[in-house]
Amino acid sequence: MKFVPRVLISVLFVANMPVQAATIEMNVNGLVCAFCAQGIEKQLRKFPATADVIVSLEQKLVAVALKGGQDIPDTELRRALTNAGYTVKAIQRTETPLAELRERLKQGKP
């Protein structure tokens, strides 16, 4: 019967662990041309935690795929976008893989 409490403890432990975001999505103002996107992508790829970057001019969205178990603080993201010359409106972390987000954007979905 010792097994049951151990399982319960394990389940509770896992449930309380912070969820690791796969992707950071940022809504950005001023995204109107490929050069904007190019500059932003260049800045974001400098972070060691960045696995990939996509930019959607249509959705005014910049998304960063994170390397496993890593993150980039909001302050660093805002600084990078400001240094690229753009204004961040909102930042959110999701578990949506970048490939899925890319596919959704291709279909014109936000």
């Binding site: 001023g30 041309c33 490929a34 050069f35 904007c36 500059g39 249509e58 005014k60 690229a84 753009y86």
Partner: protein, 217 residues
Amino acid sequence: MSRWFVGLAGASALAGPMSVMAKPIAFADGYTVMAEYGAGTMKEAQLFYAPRYDLSVGGGHVELDSDETAKSRRINYARLNYLVRRWNLDDAQANLFAWGGLGSATGNTFSGTLLAENAGAQADYETRRVYASFKMDLQRSSAFSHRIDTLQLGLAPYKHEYGGVATWFLVQARQYTGAIHRGTESAVLLRLFKGGTWIEAGVTNGGKLQAMAMFNF
């Protein structure tokens, strides 16, 4: 046309397409190579590096050949470009740039090499379907003063996406001071760009080629 200009224009063309009224600063930690052929009266090539998104430094070479007289100028310059203000709006961006520099000038209406001063400004507004810009660029020395004012208005037939080809149709109006060209020179232009490269070419009301190439990396 100097060998320097041909080389830079060639490199720019090889690197990709040609351009619009280029922004003097593309993005932070980026290089801009640009070459323009302005209907035979103006040819210019530039190379800039931007350590920050609001500042770039570099140099250029401009050749002015009057279509009214035999007057010609050859100017090499070092220049600093500054983004005075940027407005990042929901669906648009507007910019105000200013620049200044010093260089050397030769010409066929004076002897020797003169110190040349360069100053200018550009205001632009851009959405994914509409583009407008106005640029003033002054080159002067103790022997001449030439200002080139350029207005561009553009419409995109569709909203381009990053990674795709952007297409723009533009009209351009340009005026020269200092007896380089009489009156307003107008042109219709087609602009294409993808990623960091773009090409722009068209024809003026005098039936001459107007073209520009730019590459950002």
